[in-house]
Symmetry: C2
Subunit: 191 residues, 2 copies
């Protein structure tokens, strides 16, 4: 997605630890028009898979998934939670995720009320690096006996194992901006 690559090249910052920071339009401040364009792009890439539900993970996935939902005819969005809340049912699917940027392990949870056999799930997230978050969402779909129709990520780093890891599980994976190199002087290259 050329528009997104240009925006990442323009606004992306490279932080120590090979972290790509694009929080002025995706992870902290949100460019809602760009989210709509991202949502439309995911629709074009996955419309043939006819998802009945979109699964994502808080927080940054929410703007992406809700934008995409509109193009898919307002299918429900479910976002996995990373913390245990008092107002959450104890009746959840759970998976572990090791966060690359935060270097801590989360328990990712989805209520059994909102994901079940018969759901045809499109998984969407912001970043695909090592594939930890995506893998946790896949595990949750397996527990729910829901069918995964595809996995989409706004950005991936092609030199990290996430994309291959998910594809090797047998799923269709689509990425909108494929970063293949980030240099110390701030240059970002796309595949």
């Amino acid at each position: 997605m050329k528009l997104l690559e240009e925006r990442i090249r323009q606004d992306g910052k490279i932080l120590p630890g090979d972290i790509l920071k694009i929080d002025n339009f995706l992870n902290h401040q949100i460019d809602v028009k760009l989210m709509d364009q991202i949502g439309e792009e995911f629709y074009n890439l996955f419309k043939d898979t006819k998802p009945s539900k979109i699964l994502t993970i808080e927080s940054s996935g929410i703007a992406i998934a809700t934008a995409a939902s509109r193009y898919f005819g307002y299918i429900p969005v479910v976002f996995a939670k990373k913390t245990v809340a008092a107002n959450m049912s104890a009746n959840t699917y759970e998976a572990k995720e090791h966060s690359y940027t935060r270097n801590i392990e989360y328990t990712v949870q989805v209520s059994r009320d909102y994901l079940n056999e018969g759901d045809e799930v499109l998984i969407l997230d912001d970043f695909l690096a090592n594939g930890e978050a995506m893998n946790a969402l896949i595990s949750i779909c397996h527990q729910a006996k829901a069918k995964i129709v595809g996995c989409g990520s706004v950005v991936c780093k092609t030199y990290q194992p996430g994309e291959k890891r998910i594809r090797d599980l047998g799923y269709k994976v689509e990425v909108l901006a494929r970063v293949c190199h980030m240099s110390d002087d701030g240059q970002i290259e796309f595949e």
Copy 2:
């Protein structure tokens, strides 16, 4: 907002501790069409205030704020963060929030890059009970010297101090569904 009240009456569950659970369309599963209707309602209530930016707080505020942004001509959304991330600048505004549903204290943060003097901020959130989250967002706007043009909440409990607390600070407050009583047998009444 009648449609929202009906939905809360239909789907809302009352949990011990006077907690209203509406996570099948707002806090965990998201009804995106309803989010658009909520966004349009906030637009109608606040269009005269001409905000240049919407400030909310992760996670549930994101779907609400991005939906509203579309009606305001795609103004940027900034969501405050509740945890410290490695990819976040140390250069933040901070405020404390005691979470009613989780009974823990958060540090709420917004990067200084995304909120400044000259911003005309509409603050939107999902729940207004004791006003802790809203108050933290107001404090952050004060630190940024940003102008607050209004505060909107999807739901409030009128018998808790939040709404009055924010109004007493001098801000325009609009609430879409005003819960005045929740009974032990699951009945929810609106003002």
